[in-house]
Point group: C4
Chain length 265, copies 4
Amino acid sequence: MTVMEKIEEVRDAKWFSNLTTIIILAYASVLGFKTLGEVETNYSMLLKLADYFVTIYFVFELSIKMVSEKKFINFFKNGWNVFDFVIVVVTLLPLEQSGFAAIARVLRVFRVLRLFTSRPELKAIIDMLIKAIPSIIDIVILMFIIFYIYAIVGNFYFSELPSGLWKDFLVSMLTLFRVLTFEDWTDVMYEAMDVYPWAWLYFVSFVIIAAFVFFNLFVAVIIGEMQKLQESDMKQEMHEDHLKIDLLLNEIKALREEVKELKKE
Amino acid sequence: MTVMEKIEEVRDAKWFSNLTTIIILAYASVLGFKTLGEVETNYSMLLKLADYFVTIYFVFELSIKMVSEKKFINFFKNGWNVFDFVIVVVTLLPLEQSGFAAIARVLRVFRVLRLFTSRPELKAIIDMLIKAIPSIIDIVILMFIIFYIYAIVGNFYFSELPSGLWKDFLVSMLTLFRVLTFEDWTDVMYEAMDVYPWAWLYFVSFVIIAAFVFFNLFVAVIIGEMQKLQESDMKQEMHEDHLKIDLLLNEIKALREEVKELKKE
Amino acid sequence: MTVMEKIEEVRDAKWFSNLTTIIILAYASVLGFKTLGEVETNYSMLLKLADYFVTIYFVFELSIKMVSEKKFINFFKNGWNVFDFVIVVVTLLPLEQSGFAAIARVLRVFRVLRLFTSRPELKAIIDMLIKAIPSIIDIVILMFIIFYIYAIVGNFYFSELPSGLWKDFLVSMLTLFRVLTFEDWTDVMYEAMDVYPWAWLYFVSFVIIAAFVFFNLFVAVIIGEMQKLQESDMKQEMHEDHLKIDLLLNEIKALREEVKELKKE
Amino acid sequence: MTVMEKIEEVRDAKWFSNLTTIIILAYASVLGFKTLGEVETNYSMLLKLADYFVTIYFVFELSIKMVSEKKFINFFKNGWNVFDFVIVVVTLLPLEQSGFAAIARVLRVFRVLRLFTSRPELKAIIDMLIKAIPSIIDIVILMFIIFYIYAIVGNFYFSELPSGLWKDFLVSMLTLFRVLTFEDWTDVMYEAMDVYPWAWLYFVSFVIIAAFVFFNLFVAVIIGEMQKLQESDMKQEMHEDHLKIDLLLNEIKALREEVKELKKE
């Protein structure tokens, strides 16, 4: 058994992926507890240590994964490897000493995202979520058009309202997003109705249209998934049966012809 | 290749529909940025220019679509063409000079709706949404009856409450719509309970009944779509198989009869 | 054609049910507009007239339905007839002259419910909604147990809070219903957390458990309906096919036996 | 009939489980009414009596269930029996006399949970809910990662905000849970935007990501259940048919060969 084979064995071992998971979780806990004010001073030493350890471990783990590939370039053909690589490299940058210490500290948190790569089930769910995006892309465009028109109209009429919720186009979009989540939307409406009594039409129509589109999006996604389910192997088998039954009929008819000929002899 | 064929080719070309999409999006951006206060003065010239350009482009595009039809009247047989035509004509009206400048500026926004016609996928979704309306029309009537009765009762008892949320029939309807979205509905309830301690019964029953009807509407729509899915080609094929198997049985029985006759000879 | 047959013909006529629908809608509009303060004085005469007319029309319509039955008792065997009868009788009671004028005015509104009986589609939806109740009855009991336990615990710990949201068992139930609709539930939580810092556990667990039960209720109802759909005629046909294919196999085997005997001869 | 058989008969009798249900409901009502302030003094005697009675009844009922098992240890092999046993034992502890009277009173409420064991339908629903947990466990982990990262980032930037909604890691998690339920989430956002104008990006992205994950979780659960439904007996039957049709074809081909041989003779 060569060194190469040993490295490959380690890379694919269950205990190695479990070890990575545990180290990330431990690191996440340290980061989480650090924010509790009272323990900060005592634990800042621990945090620094954990930080160094995790950095070294991540570089070590990544090296194993890289070395075990036959061709170096293959490593980057897997999207998840690129994801791991970017996280490790970004958190290696010596930003702490420079003026970007604050950014460095925030970036550190994204290391927790590596939990995805250490748990195959989560990888599968993320893949599924990404695959679900195209099926809703047109609804997103439709939503954007509805938001756009309502934002322009809202900004045109309500821009002078004292709350400043419609003061420019982007703020109007944000206000409409808030109305969509039903978050104190009547406060926004009543303020507009004080100046324009017809404003309820604007808000009620927006809520109904947006909710109706959402409702149908939901149903459409479920039906789409159902269709995929039905077009699976079961349907395939059924279609084969359909063709074979025709074949059967022809066979029997041919057989009958032959028996008839037998009779004539 | 005649001029007519050339026009038709342009009309159906992918680059022509893409060009229209890009022009609408660019125009939408100009309209959107215009509302950001700080850039208004600098960009008002740009806006005017964009406005003239889009008006001319839309007229030009519509002309191509009209001219390329063999019979002029066919153009108006397609609902989407009528939709385009109305938007272009309405935004052509010289309202800016008259006293309706404000309305003209709002109407301009509806040009963005032409994105629907330039993107076939969005046309399909809009068609789907319109087709989904009849399947919920009776639930809408049912909702209206529930709203109506609660609005009359609410207006009868709560019309004197200081908030004025029940001061007439239409305002009561609006208040009930608010309660349906769970938007600060307890504020409305607690105010009513101060005068009528039984008011919680009115609100809780409304919330439960309205939510129950909605819940069932949702399930009904999904089940309805599923039924359509099952009644598709797959079911058709299965039914054909069902009939053919009967045919097979009869064929084989006939064959057996003939073999029996053979034996007797 | 006897008088009896003529009455039956009128009862089943489409125009008769449409007339009833229009009269109810007109009456509903009069009731609705009456509540708009400014028109009340002018329209109170109209309202009285509409009231008399609708009362007479309802009695007339009900008489036709009653008379056209062969046996008088059959009329009451249909639930919807009983529903009509109760509404007409209750609104006939001379409560206006007595001290219950207010109740009489509210009861009048329930006449609009007769829209259900005049539109067959709505009858069907109501029947569907009633049929859907048993499938969720056990979830309702489960919800009640969750509410009950949380209400008792909440009332026990939080009854002294200044807002009075937990002052007795029934008020606690109402407060929990409010929390379930996410209506300002953090206000309730933060108030409790001021005294009991662990209170977030009470609220977050309640929200998660209640939402989880609801979520599963929803999925269960959809799956239940799907199962009914699959157990329909399609499945029936498939099962028949399954049995017939066995029959076919036996027939062919018998046939082969006979051909073999032929050969031996 | 031995004493043992009689005990078993009682244990399985419908009237015995109904009696238990009624006693628990009566006890629950007494507990509920006790909390209504005005009746407390009059009913405290009744409550004490009900308490003694229920304690004795529960011990009696449990004894019957224990005694009727052939092997004593079998009793504890059923999870629901263990559940009953724990509730009865815990409420038997003489905590009233000790310093834990308050805890004892709260524990008493959990006796109502025994409604689950007395109604088989509820047992089934609870079993279903518990079975549904594994299918969402990975989504829960995913949700946790999203919450974790947003909590760390939120706590890092917003910890100094006057509302104290981000003052430590756990409070940030609670605040994010609140944002997820759309409960006054804009108040939280507007406060953050006063200091960091880009904060809307943090909140809007969290709402969209969390809602998107939830939405897909929902669809995934429904589709998963559908798949189970399709893989049931119906699919089994169809697959058998598929194999039998192949068998049929082979039989007929063999038959044709034999007829051909007949002809040659």
